[in-house]
Symmetry: C2
Subunit: 178 residues, 2 copies
Amino acid sequence: MIWHISLSGTGGQGIILAGIILAEAAILEGKQAIQTQSYGPEARGGASKAEVIISDAAIDYPKIVVADILLAMSQEACTKYVGLLKKGGKLIVDNTNIQDIPAIDAEILSAAITKAAREQLGNAMFANIIALGVLVAGTGIVARESILKAVLRRVPKGTEDVNQRALEIGFHLGDVAK
Amino acid sequence: MIWHISLSGTGGQGIILAGIILAEAAILEGKQAIQTQSYGPEARGGASKAEVIISDAAIDYPKIVVADILLAMSQEACTKYVGLLKKGGKLIVDNTNIQDIPAIDAEILSAAITKAAREQLGNAMFANIIALGVLVAGTGIVARESILKAVLRRVPKGTEDVNQRALEIGFHLGDVAK
């Protein structure tokens, strides 16, 4: 049995979080789930939508098979997903956690992401925001001011300053790694 | 130009949040983006992955075209997405925000979700968690204890109790609406 569930509303109603929670609940009971948000011009208007597919069995759904950019924050993830990276793509590794980088035909940007989170911000939990900074500085996929705006929108109130600092540490690490 | 970006690591590193932020940054600068997490047996192991597609132009990517269940939390979302619902599907509407329910061949569960969030919890921001309760009680898509576990994992520390109460209010509203 496969269920397709659409959650819809306006920005700020927590629709995306609801979709993530629903998908995770399905996983907790041994089902499989895919959770997707599509953002486009219509998402900037009023109505927005998150989609969740829940299934008792494996879901036959197109996944990304070739990535232009792969961020790997753990050794296991790096080993497991490096085959996704296209030839000439960019691999960004957190070398705090990854010692063994597979030999591949890709540009490798290596940075001590988790180490910087721990030593400069006192908490490894900021590694994801630092990683975004490394990724944006290293690839130019979006502008630095865009990722900053998006970070400030999503992080809990009261943590804006430390997350901005995390992002800037990431920009610096990304610039140096290039 | 379309970029496929995979973000990978282990649970707890904030990979999903990083994917959401990256997609939102792209939207902020007028690009289009899709952000997906696939959860499956492998997600319960070590390595996990979020995927982001960023494009200058419209992304040709399969979306859900027929939903078994549609949650609508705003009038605009209800009007816009009700066509997605399959015949005989379930439409869950937040009747605090939606007065005009289209005539459709579906089971309609109507509940005052945002009103309950405001009046019983003092903040409309809990509407998404109440909505999950209504959805789970009204559809049985996952067990109540699974959604509770998933809620408690995702909400900010210190807000577990109020979010559990939100979910239970939703279960009650869903039971009554059936």
